[in-house]
């Protein structure tokens, strides 16, 4: 289909190439340089969507990121994205877009029937109507409302694209590349400062490419191209197009999103769709321009009613004709330029309506003999039209005489609002300025300057000079000076405006917020119901909400409220904004950190060995740890675990324990340091020995446990649990650096240096003997229980052995430098072949430690004291230590506190559940009767039944008593017997064998 409304010449489009695209299943053509909105206008398409609430037909209002109407679903399938602004979509080959909020079709939309009942669905309707019965809200009302309303449909499959984040730094960040931004970038860039110029559009220039204006006597677009070329040649200047700076954050940090590949159907391989930039700028220059305001009159939302500045953009930048016969309705001097541009595009001007009695004298000259009417002191009172666009307008002149004028385009302008958003993100409030009838930036974020229209200086020459001086000032603040930058010349122009907000009217709806379908009547209703504060007005009417965040409506809403309440706009209040300036995709915010990449993954040095053995891995903190090692034919985890435990208890098992935290504690005062850290004593630990240690938090609760060995006079090796390793490291560093800086301590994390394996079971010494170099005697006498030795293995490789046991068996932990991890575990597996050595995972480890009554994560949960865990004998009375005083608080030594005990089911076939609560038998399972809960459970192959550890009131005094283990979550209710915490080998004979 030929683009009927394309002008023959002009515009920043490449007419040599055509691009095919599809809108609502119809194929159209555009040119490179078109936006979707301009390409649709070129093809005579005026209707682009339906409104959110009343399903009114809507066309394109603007030509920029403020667009509230022309929201479309872009792309298809998993890449479908709702609410994309047709004004911001760069046309590309294969583009597919669909209108939204309509069914069965855009032209015939059943949802538009809501317009007929609109009198009863005004602001606050939902709050008042869907209140009773309360239970209906979630199940009935909300789903109904969501189906009827809503803004487009999200994709129903996972986003296939890649998103990334990056951080960059600069001396000067220039936000916006209109005349002010370009001059700012040039002035700062020429000094050699590091400059980033960010432009949300795909073309630099801002209004300079949208207006028929001259810079230094040349067409502005030519000047833009020259400046762009110079900036591109400066090595320290970076130009980011398609990049929206969306937020101002502390310390000169700005958030920006670069739409790297939204202008293609599929991003090229290895490239992201969006890139989220964190820009850390010593100075920033906001040159974001201004946003034009609609005027408020009945039917101002009809397709064909457009902002005057947008009309000029479409004519000048895109070379399209947004209508054939136009009425211009403006309260400011830009009406003149609009008339000039319309005429140049061959668009007939039916009338110029200016509410001012003395419009720009240029206007009368321009009209001359064209036959257009100039109606000064007049207003459009109503626009008539429908899905086919605007048909005619009713205009009242200064004497309120009505005339009906046929037209298909209304170019309206209520004046311009500086784009102050980024100045308010840190709390600055905009200030009202009467001369321009707009808010200008108030207190600026530290390091920010504002130039051009964003500062309320709308004339081109002010933009050029303001940008140049802001650029020079920002560069100079960073020590970069130079250059006599000559500010280019520009014609003087009128920027007068008289504040007209809304036109009094009787019939039809006059919209303030187009996206949320908020009319002036809704503001009146809000006022009547007491929602007069600006913030209340917003919440009650939804004015300024949704994807455009009221870019075209906030000020009009305030103005109408001010008018109704007979206050000035300053008295009425102002709006501040939160980031983001315009919508940012969740993909960009998440970046590559999604799915399994949400957090880093830590692998032990023997990970690849376990993987090849078919281990099932568990995420424990950041670590991947083997949970069990299924053998061929084993399908259920319990079978594997029973086999692993039995093998370890009867022969020998092997477990990778490298993830335990390890810290080297060196120095003259290492013993003293550990005595203060741990509740038990380490300064008396003989060299070559290990000891179990318990450390408390300052508040007296248990922090962590582990064994610590003394390898030499001033050299200890501490171990911690896997999960607490980082926390303990912070704690130790805090104690060393802050609490006791005078102690001579050298602390080094050693978890990464060593691969460590537990070899447990009656044959563990036999296995170890095969790998430890023959010079070292590891007999029971030479290396007794709790010995720690530095040895060598496999022909001289340094190693450490610790005779410690979590399983309760004769056991050793062998540590070698991590580069040997895989080779070491293979050597151990080879050495253990005669005894069928069996690798075991976390689950078997857990079963065995429960069988021995050792506490672990379930018990060391941050809520237990040493006394609760029946470890109170470890609390030294001969020394001070962290947590000592507060561990003695009355509540923590209260006799009825739940304390650690063992549990077994009375019916041995019953399964136990961790988390089950204990209540006395024959009492109601209620919080009043609660006596504690099960902390850990496991199936003991040694005893052939489930066992558990738990915390129960006076547990240690109640051995033999029966209680209910009540678990409403898993629907279990089991009678259990309280036992000692140690289920097997209570004398510890196996340890010492």
């Amino acid at each position: 289909m030929a683009a009927s409304q394309r002008l023959a010449t002009g515009g920043l489009i490449d007419r040599r190439r055509t691009i095919d695209f599809t809108f609502d299943s119809r194929r159209y053509q555009g040119h490179p340089g078109d936006s979707l909105a301009s390409a649709l206008i070129a093809n005579g398409v005026k209707l682009t969507g339906r409104s959110f609430k009343y399903h009114r037909p809507r066309g394109t209002l603007s030509a920029g990121s403020e667009e509230p109407n022309a929201l479309v679903e872009l792309r298809q399938g998993a890449r479908r994205e709702p609410n994309t602004r047709a004004t911001m979509i760069e046309i590309h080959e294969g583009l597919v877009a669909n209108s939204q909020n309509c069914w069965p079709s855009l032209r015939f939309d059943l949802g538009a029937l809501t317009g007929l009942v609109s009198p009863i669905i005004a602001a606050g309707f939902y709050y008042k109507t869907f209140m009773w019965p309360a239970s209906f809200w979630e199940k009935v009302y909300e789903p109904l409302i969501r189906r009827a309303a809503g803004l487009g449909r999200g994709a129903d499959a996972a986003d296939p694209d890649y998103y990334e984040k990056a951080t960059t730094f600069c001396d000067v960040l220039v936000i916006g590349s209109g005349p002010a931004g370009l001059m700012a970038a040039l002035a700062s860039g020429r000094t050699g400062a590091r400059v980033i110029l960010a432009e949300e559009d795909f073309h630099l220039g801002g209004r300079a490419i949208a207006e028929r204006i001259a810079v230094d006597g040349e067409p502005a677009a030519k000047w833009v191209a020259a400046v762009e070329a110079e900036l591109a040649s400066l090595p320290e200047v970076r130009i980011l197009v398609r990049t929206t700076v969306f937020g101002t954050y502390d310390h000169g940090t700005y958030g920006a999103v670069e739409r790297v590949n939204d202008h293609v159907v599929d991003p090229p391989a290895h490239e992201p769709r969006h890139r989220l930039w964190r820009i850390i700028a010593k100075r920033a220059i906001l040159a974001a321009g201004a946003i034009e305001r609609p005027l408020i009159f009945a039917g101002n939302d009809r397709p064909g009613v457009m902002l005057a500045g947008a009309v000029r953009s479409y004519i000048n930048r895109y070379a399209v004709r947004p209508g054939r016969r136009a009425v211009v309705f403006a309260n400011n001097d830009e009406a003149t330029q609009t008339v000039v541009d319309l005429s140049a595009a061959g668009i007939e001007i039916a009338a110029i309506v200016d509410p001012r009695l003395n419009p720009d004298p240029e206007l009368a000259k321009l009209i001359g003999s064209s036959g257009a009417r100039l109606i000064s002191g007049g207003m459009i009172v109503r626009v008539l039209g429908g899905t086919r666009g605007t048909r005619n307008v009713l205009i009242a002149d200064e004497k309120k005489r009505l005339s009906n004028i046929a037209c298909d385009l209304v170019a309206m302008s209520g004046g311009w609002m500086p784009t102050v958003h980024l100045t308010t993100h840190l709390g600055g409030r905009p200030k009202w300025r009467d001369q321009i009838a707009a808010f200008v930036p108030g207190i600026l974020p530290p390091g920010m300057l504002v130039a051009g229209a964003a500062a309320g200086h709308f004339a081109l020459r002010d933009c050029l000079s303001g940008g140049a001086s802001a650029g020079a000032q920002a560069a100079a603040a960073n020590g970069f000076r130079n250059t006599s930058l000559i500010v280019p010349s520009a014609e003087p122009e009128g920027t007068n405006v008289s504040a007209l907000w809304r036109v009094p009217h009787r019939r039809g709806k006059a919209f303030i917020d187009f996206q949320n379908d908020v009319t002036d009547a809704d503001v009146e209703l809000a006022e009547r119901e007491g929602f007069r504060a600006v913030e209340h007005l917003k919440r009650y009417t939804t004015l300024g909400m949704a994807t455009d965040q009221g870019k075209t409506s906030n000020l009009n809403g305030i103005a109408v409220m001010a008018e109704i309440t007979e206050r000035t706009i300053s008295q009425c209040g102002t709006t501040v904004f939160r980031p983001p300036f315009s919508p940012v995709s969740f993909g960009a915010l998440a970046g590559p950190h999604k799915g399994k990449k949400l957090r880093p993954v830590r692998r032990t040095s023997a990970h690849s060995w376990a993987e090849r053995r078919g281990a099932v891995f568990l995420d424990t903190g950041l670590w991947l740890r083997a949970q069990w090692f299924p053998e061929p034919g084993e399908t259920d985890w319990l079978t594997s675990i029973v086999r692993e435990v039995t093998a370890t208890r009867t022969r020998v098992g092997l477990c990778d324990v490298s993830t335990l935290g390890k810290f080297e504690v060196h120095g003259r005062d290492a013993g003293t340091f550990l005595d203060r850290i741990y509740c038990n004593t380490f300064s008396t630990l003989p060299i070559g020995r290990a000891r179990y240690g318990l450390m408390l938090r300052e508040d007296g609760f248990v922090m962590d446990d582990g064994t610590t060995s003394r390898l030499a006079e001033h050299r200890y090796l501490m171990t911690t649990t896997t999960v607490n390793a980082g926390k303990v490291m912070q704690h130790l560093e805090y104690c060393r650096q802050v609490l006791w800086p005078k102690l001579d301590i050298q602390l080094m994390a050693a978890s990464e240096q060593w691969a460590q394996f537990s070899i447990a079971g009656p044959r563990s010494r036999d296995v170890l003997r095969q790998v430890i170099d023959p010079d070292y005697d590891i007999s029971n006498a030479a290396v007794p229980y709790l010995a720690a030795r530095e040895v060598t293995v496999c022909g001289g490789i340094e190693a450490r052995i610790f005779r410690i046991s979590f399983s309760g068996e004769l056991a050793y932990e062998l540590a070698v430098p991590a580069r040997y991890g895989v080779a070491m575990v293979r050597a151990l597996m080879d050495a253990g072949k005669p005894w069928n050595i069996t690798p075991y995972g976390l689950e078997a480890l857990n079963v065995m430690r429960i069988e021995k009554g050792h506490v672990s994560g379930g018990e060391l949960n941050g809520q237990t004291t040493a006394r609760d865990l029946r470890l109170e004998k470890m609390l030294s009375k001969k020394k001070d230590f962290i947590g000592r005083v507060l561990a003695g608080r009355p509540a923590l030594v209260e006799p009825d506190r739940p304390r650690l005990a063992g549990f077994k089911p009375v019916d041995r076939s019953d399964r136990l559940n961790a988390g089950a609560h204990f209540v006395p038998i024959d009492t109601v399972a209620s919080a009043d009767n609660d006596q504690g809960y099960m902390t850990s459970v496991g199936y003991s192959p040694t005893l052939n039944h489930w066992i558990g550890l738990g915390l129960i009131t006076r547990g240690h005094e109640r051995i033999g008593e029966r209680v209910r283990a009540y678990d409403p979550v898993r629907n279990a209710d089991v009678v259990v017997e309280i036992t000692d915490t140690v289920f097997i080998d209570p004398q510890g004979d196996r340890l010492a064998s």
């Binding site: 990334e164 984040k165 990056a166 951080t167 960059t168 730094f169 590091r194 391989a269 290895h270 490239e271 992201p272 964190r278 850390i280 590559p592 950190h593 990449k597 880093p600 993954v601 830590r602 692998r603 032990t604 040095s605 690849s608 950041l622 670590w623 080297e664 060196h666 120095g667 003259r668 005078k742 102690l743 001579d744 050298q746 602390l747 080094m748 994390a749 050693a750 978890s751 990464e752 240096q753 060593w754 170099d773 010079d775 530095e790 060598t792 293995v793 496999c794 022909g795 001289g796 490789i797 340094e798 070698v816 430098p817 991590a818 580069r819 040997y820 895989v822 080779a823 070491m824 050597a827």
Partner: protein, 209 residues
């Protein structure tokens, strides 16, 4: 004693394994239509030692290092060169010592004996992996991984920093003016970090050395 014994023994029977062995295969990754924008390789077979000065011994430590290794220990995040060794400041009175294993087989025992009573010496050879990166797009790549300003005016050859990348602790220093950087990460994170680095650089094309 143990260290002397090691020197006397025959070659050990266990083979060593890099944590990057499954991912760091030489060749091209990512975009292949252009010359590589990024070159990355693991610096293999290094001896790494962490040294921490003991209280009151700081000036002695500085003198010993100058005398024995011809290096001036930096007191800020920087790199200093000595005889076949590099010293990277990592924290107040803490340094990472880096040398090629071939030239420094006895480094740890030498450090321990020279610094006895002056500093604690820890073997870190297995604890960290060092990745050497350079190439015309290396700064662009690293800007997606870390939040440090590596611009030539902000970070120069010999400068070092401690930071984090997607939750992974990282030390880096600039080794020359190409620029090239060494990135030191903990062993358990190395594979994950490598993958994130490759992902960041793939749009520029990567050559793994």
């Amino acid at each position: 004693l143990i260290h002397k014994e090691i020197a006397l023994r025959a070659e050990p029977r266990l083979t060593i394994r890099s944590p990057l062995i499954d991912v760091a295969r030489p060749g091209r990754l990512g975009q292949r239509n252009l010359l590589p924008g990024v070159f990355i390789e693991e610096r293999g077979d290094l001896v790494l030692a962490a040294i921490i000065g003991r209280n009151g011994q700081q000036s002695v430590l500085t003198n010993v290092i100058r005398k024995c290794f011809a290096a001036d220990l930096p007191q800020t995040p920087k790199l200093a060169h000595g005889n076949s060794l590099d010293f990277v400041w990592t924290a107040p009175w803490q340094w990472l010592v880096i040398g090629e294993r071939a030239k420094n087989r006895d480094l740890l025992s030498k450090l321990r004996s020279e610094l006895s009573g002056v500093a604690a010496v820890f073997d870190n050879s297995d604890a960290r992996v060092i990745i050497r990166v350079h190439g015309p797009r290396i700064r662009d790549t690293l800007s997606k991984v870390i939040s440090i300003d590596l611009h030539r005016r902000a970070f120069r050859t010999g400068d070092a920093a401690s930071t984090q990348a997607a939750g992974i602790s990282l030390q880096l220093w600039q080794t020359d003016n190409r620029p090239a950087y060494d990135l030191a990460v903990a062993r358990s994170y190395a594979e994950d970090f490598w993958e994130r680095l490759v992902e960041a650089g793939s749009e520029y094309g990567i050559e793994v050395g």
